[in-house]
């Protein structure tokens, strides 16, 4: 059959073609012999892309009532697993799937489970409902449950389960106005749109959203038992059993698009959209496809059919087969339609000619010369759509033949299509049983496909596909190792470790998740051993802590020198251990210790003190005391702190001086208190020198006595006096007396400079002659700076420096000084200028 032209299976609906193609023959037919599998007896949930099928028997067989199972099959009807379901767990209302291919089981009581894998691991949640659930409808990321009291509850995100109660359609206190619900459908949330539920009641169609209930006032031939919303959310189809009519309207119910009257009187089983442009009604033995006009197509079936709509078509499942119903795309139509003269059709024909060694092949190319690129492109795209490898190959050969004659053709699409089809053909095999169409494959993406295959534990296939598509294999190997641990109950920790390491050592994968699983499985030693292979320390830390390997965790993070990891461990341990145990652990971990000090203890003086105390860090303890001192106003307490600080510092011979200095400070405080009574301004001083300055300003004689009490050196004292008194014009005489009363230990330059700085040149000049370290030329210059020309001239004259005298003369305009210079020069040289 494979070589027959695909167009033979097409059915025309107006100007478009539809076709139904068999995807997989269901293997469960063989089970029929034993169990008599008939889909009619089951609740059926088809996963996205018909990748898995869940069945749950609804036959009331007494012996099976206590212990039934949910069976999960592949798309080819091969059993993957069975989940036993005790009736004590709860009565199942509906089965569904989410976009991660996880099974959702909703129970009558309002509880529901998400099965994370096919091994029966699940998370259970509760909707906390007041009344039982009677009906559930799913969309890929959530579901809406209808309770017996006609209230709707919605779960819109499986990763963050928060039940949302939708507004009630009946007002509570008015029972008489209660509307009866006939059919309903979900308008799934999209972008910024929130979930909505369309409800057909005996009066009209209502739309329920989180904000409230809107009455569309659409009555039509209602009530409608089946409602279907197109996947783009823009159109809605409603089936009225009373009139056997299908109304198709825009989703806001404002515009009627078409109304179709069915010729099949039996009760429809399901109403679904096939892509966005046709509606399917299933009856027990017929599928009716209704297009935008009033035309329809019928596909007859042998048994009950279940529908699963997708963006590009619709899967339908019955006892024998999984089939895919879809519209024939324009490209495929052009290529295969009998008598088509489109470029791609002619290019495809050329391949036949080549196979028959006919020279007409080149003629074909001549004909489509101008459209060759289109022809090649279309052949590639048509190949992607075909299920039969025979036609895929033929079309790709045609494309490959065509593109050789095009200059600079970009072959990316060709290569991608070849690769993708190769993967698709493999997973479409009954052994895998995931029959994706090409566009579904693109939509799903290889990485999610790999995740799906991992759920089925097809590790080898995953690795092969990943290698072929140059994708990372890390996740696959990790998953493999986890499965290995779970399923190898008979192996010892050592055996398991070597088995895992043998496979994974050169793969550069993260060992932390494997270790985590080993720990959960109770294999602690294996877990620790695995962690040693983990390169990223930040991942090992939380695990080590979980395993109570406190010291090792801290050591590891300290060695790795990652601030975040270290802090994580520190905070965990700090909250968990006693302070002394905590400090013990810190020992020998310099990086952790420094972060503890700077980030945790920084603002907790008591904690810091405890740390310094146990570590016997005198300098740290002293610093704490000194910090206290800075904020202390009372001089009595200040003295106590000083004593304490002095004692601490006295313990180490390296801080002998500092210890003594603190003790001396007590005397300074005493002196300060005493002086304060006479000179109140001393209160605000911060240093001994400032106290001294205040005293000097008040009483120089007292200062001479006080500076010794304050332990201020003679030299500092003299500088202080010079600085302080030269600022006060009325005290400059006193300053001079002080300076000359005995030999100054700092010389007289400071006096000269201070006075000059304060602008008293006359006083400054008084000190020049006292500056013994200066030679006469320097002195002359100083005198000149003080504008003391008389002394400058005298000094120069004394040294008989005529040149210098000349210079002085040039610097003054004063005739007296000029004459003075002239006199001196005359006396020295004997001649007058």
């Amino acid at each position: 059959m494979s070589s027959s032209n695909p167009s033979l299976g097409w059915e025309r609906l107006q100007n478009v073609f539809y076709r139904s193609r068999e995807c997989l023959e269901l293997q469960w037919k063989q089970e029929e012999i034993e169990e008599g599998l008939n889909l009619q007896d089951y609740k059926v949930a088809i996963a996205p892309y018909a990748a898995s099928i869940a069945l749950y028997s609804i036959r009331s067989i007494p012996e099976l009532a206590v212990n039934k199972s949910i069976h999960i099959y592949s798309g080819a009807g091969v059993k993957i697993t069975s989940i036993s379901w005790l009736s004590s767990i709860g009565e199942i209302v509906e089965l569904g799937w989410n976009s991660k291919f996880q099974l959702i089981v909703v129970m009558k009581s309002g509880k529901f489970r998400i099965y994370n894998n096919y091994e029966g691991d699940f998370d259970e949640f509760d909707l906390h409902l007041e009344s039982d659930i009677i009906e559930v409808k799913f969309w890929p990321d959530g579901f809406v449950a209808r309770s017996i009291d006609d209230s709707f509850t919605c779960i819109s995100n499986y990763s963050k389960v928060i039940p949302i109660c939708l507004p009630s359609i009946t007002t509570k206190n008015d029972e008489s106005k209660k509307r009866q619900i006939h059919g309903w459908a979900i308008l799934p949330p999209m972008y910024n749109r929130q979930v909505k539920v369309i409800v057909s009641t005996d009066i009209s169609v209502l739309i329920i959203s989180l904000d409230g209930v809107t009455d569309t006032n659409f009555v039509g031939n209602g009530p409608f038992t089946s409602i279907a919303i197109a996947s783009n959310g823009e159109f809605v189809a409603l089936y009225s059993t009373s009139s056997n009519e299908i109304s198709i309207r825009t989703a806001d119910f404002s515009v009627s698009l078409t109304t179709f009257e069915s010729d099949n009187d039996s009760i429809p089983l399901e109403l679904q959209w096939c892509s966005n442009d046709a509606v399917i009604v299933s009856y027990t033995d017929e599928l009716k496809l209704i297009g935008p006009s009033r035309d329809s197509l019928s596909f007859y079936t042998d048994s009950v059919t279940y529908l699963k709509p997708e963006d590009d078509g619709l899967y339908f499942l019955n006892n024998e087969r999984l089939e895919f119903l879809s519209r024939v795309s324009n490209v495929t139509m052009d290529t295969f339609k009998i008598g088509s003269t489109s470029p791609s059709a002619i290019l495809l024909d050329a391949i036949d000619q080549i196979d028959h060694h006919s020279p007409k092949a080149n003629e074909n190319l001549e004909i489509i010369k101008g459209d060759l690129t289109t022809a090649v492109d279309n052949c590639i795209r048509a190949a992607a759509e075909e299920f039969e490898p025979y036609w895929q190959k033929k079309l790709l050969r045609a494309a490959s033949f065509g593109k050789t004659t095009i200059d600079l053709y970009n072959s990316d699409e060709f290569v991608d299509t070849c690769n993708n089809l190769r993967v698709l053909n493999i997973i479409r095999q009954p052994e895998v049983g995931i029959f994706l169409t090409y566009s579904q494959f693109i939509e799903l993406g290889v990485d999610r496909l790999i995740k799906l295959l991992l759920l089925r534990q097809l590790h080898y296939l995953c690795v092969k596909i990943s290698d072929f598509m140059t994708l990372p294999t890390d996740e696959i190997f990790i998953d493999w190792a986890c499965c290995k641990i779970k399923h190898s109950l008979d192996l010892s920790d050592t055996e398991l470790l070597s088995a895992i390491i043998k496979r994974l050592l050169d793969k550069n994968v993260s060992f932390a998740p494997i270790s985590q699983l080993a720990y959960q499985e109770g294999r602690t030693q294996l877990s620790i051993n695995l962690l040693n292979f983990e390169k990223d320390t930040s991942k090992t830390i939380p695990l080590l802590l979980e395993m109570e390997q406190d010291d090792y965790a801290l050591l590891k993070s300290d060695e790795n020198m990652n601030v975040d990891s270290i802090m994580f461990v520190l905070i965990t341990l700090f909250n968990k251990l006693s302070l002394s145990d905590f400090f013990k652990l810190l020992d020998g971990k310099p990086n952790a210790t420094s972060l503890f000090k700077s980030k945790i203890a920084q603002n907790d003086i008591q904690l810091l003190h405890d740390y310094y105390f146990q570590a016997d860090l005198t300098s740290g303890l002293a610093e704490i005391e000194l910090d206290k001192l800075a904020n202390e106003k009372s001089s009595e307490i200040q003295k106590q702190i000083l004593m304490k600080g002095s004692k601490i510092l006295g313990r180490s011979k390296y801080t002998e001086f500092e210890s003594k200095r603190l003790k001396d400070e007590i005397k300074i405080i005493d002196a300060k208190i005493k002086l304060e009574q006479e000179i109140p301004s001393i209160k605000n001083t911060e240093s001994a020198a400032q106290i001294l300055e205040e005293v000097i300003t008040q009483d120089l004689k007292k200062a001479i006595k006080v500076h010794k009490e304050l332990k201020i050196s003679e030299r500092q004292f003299y500088y202080k006096v010079a600085k302080t008194l030269s600022k006060l014009p009325e005290r400059r005489q006193e300053l001079h007396e002080f300076a000359t009363s005995k030999k100054s230990p700092i010389g007289y330059e400071p006096f000269y400079l201070e006075l000059l700085k304060n602008g008293d040149k006359r006083q400054a000049s008084l000190y020049v002659n006292l500056c013994t370290s200066m030679d006469y030329r320097q002195k002359v210059k100083c005198y000149i700076k003080c504008e003391d020309f008389k002394n400058a001239i005298e000094e120069a004259y004394k040294r008989k420096d005529v040149e210098l005298l000349d210079l002085i003369r040039s610097l003054t305009d004063n005739s007296v000084h000029k004459r003075h210079v002239d006199d001196c020069i005359e006396r020295l040289t004997g001649s007058r200028r």
């Binding site: 990652n562 975040d564 980030k599 330059e749 400079l753």
Partner: protein
Amino acid sequence: MAIAPITGTIKRRVITDISVGIFVFLFDGSIQVLDVVSLLIKSKLLPYTKNHTISFILTNHLMKTNELIVENLGLKGDLELFEWNTSIPLIIEDDLISLNLKYGGLKELFLNDSIEPIQLLADSLLNLIIKSDYKIRITNTFLKGSFSIKFWKIFNNLYDRHLNSLDPIHKKLINDQDETLFLDQYSFFNRNIDFVCFDRGVDLISCLLTQLTYTGLTDDIIGTDMGIVNFPILNPETNELEEFKLSLGDSNDFIYPLIKNLNFSMVGSILNSKAKEIQKEFDKRNSLNDIDSMKKFVGELNLLKDNQRWVQKHTTLAEFILQSVKKGEDDDSSIMNEIDIPSYNYFNQFIELQQDILSDNLDNKKNCNLILEFMYKFEPKIQDIIKLLILTTIVKKGIREFEYDYMKSEILNLYGLKYLKLFIRLKELKLVYNKETTSFLSGPSIIEEQSFDSIQLINDFRSISNYLNLMPIVDQQDLNNPKDADFGLPGFVPIITRLIEAIYDRDFLSATTSLTTTTTTSSSSHTNHRPKTRLRKYGWDNLDLSNLNGEVKQDFLITENKKKLFDSIIPPKLSNLTNRKDVIIVSVIGGLTYSEISTIRFILQKNEVTKDKQLIILTTGVIKSDDVINCLI
């Protein structure tokens, strides 16, 4: 929307806006603030609002820790955490990238011995590499000091982690780049990337000295923040103080690149001549005689005006600096210039004292006396005195105990007891310590043993100074065209600069030896270019660093299978290298000063081989000498 700093007062302000329902907190994530905020949320927000969303945006890079703390506080699930990546460093100048940490991170490094600044720097190097599309592929590393070694280890951890998180396509891309980089020796020489990293402790001298370059002096005297200078200036017209603001390194600023690296004394003349040039251009308008030249003039007018503005701004800044530099100097110094008399110029005397200490001309007693004298006379900020003490300690390997005790006592008398803590810290960090009285019998003194875990890494200053020619004797110093990198500091070449120079050139080593024998040839050997046509890299081989403590690590990062190719490198001729993309990245953990940066630029420019190499300085901060002391107070 209410934006308020997180303080006690926020509590009331947020509550008034409770109807909003969306609360975003932006803060550093420190434990204290987290405590305050969580308390606020638990007591004031959660009980009153139902449909709220609360988010924290945290800037401390510790997402795992933050999550844990939030969980411990019982707020998990009530709020969402976001990270604000602040390790993207700031580009201050074309070749200068800084994390802008306070005190260059020195406080964390010195006082807490914390790896946090190191990790931030490693983070930003990784960021830089990612941003460059992995074109920055470090080929050679030169590391000096334990922080630097730690840095490299942390960086490698981060880099491995990053590589592991990449998808295979990127991994392949990086591999391919490696392959082509080491394809042959030529491809390598064009694109090798040297990474040089120092601890601040390698050279605590140059960061303590007064900076003399234009930018350096500006930073010392006024201070810069992210390259921006800000100070009040008297407007002569209104007689009021106005704020003056100048962003150094502005891309439109044509004059700044000309003067930024110069010794400040050279800046005035350049500003003058540029101002004259611009005036000349303006004057052209008087001689315009045809439409075309008028059009041309008008077209250039805006640029001309802009340029004039820049010159004016820099002139204002330079004058301001000059004023404070000249403070206390004789204004009529023209007369009898050759005679020195006592003066009150702080700037000059401070520099003189630094030079005296460095040249080690003073005996112990004189050295201490001069420092004290200087202190009595000027009563300067304590930072300057401490700088002199640290310099003395490095040069003289300590200060004699009785002298140090006396100095401490006098310093505390003047500045107050609150600085006692500073002295304890200086001692702890061995920045200033007592000299052991050397007896004939004792072996290596205790101090020498201790100095190994000091953050200050100079072990024997006199030897290292001679060996690396840190204080070159230059006859006829031409600061406009300096021969050596001593123009940025008082006659001192930073050790960091010399160590970078040594990787590519060893001329300065011969300069010292020839100097002792024949002083005259030393200068001529500089001008007389050896036929340096080959791109040779000396690295730190055969460089005697025994007088600098701290680990040294030098590595050639090449994939194992290519090693053979580089077993015997014949450096290619310089003329064969076109389109060069080789880079040198210089990092100093703890920051470096503008003057140091200028000298690094200078030595790389001076060398034929490194002239066309791109320089990137990546550091924890641009610091100045005060920062080194302030981080300890």
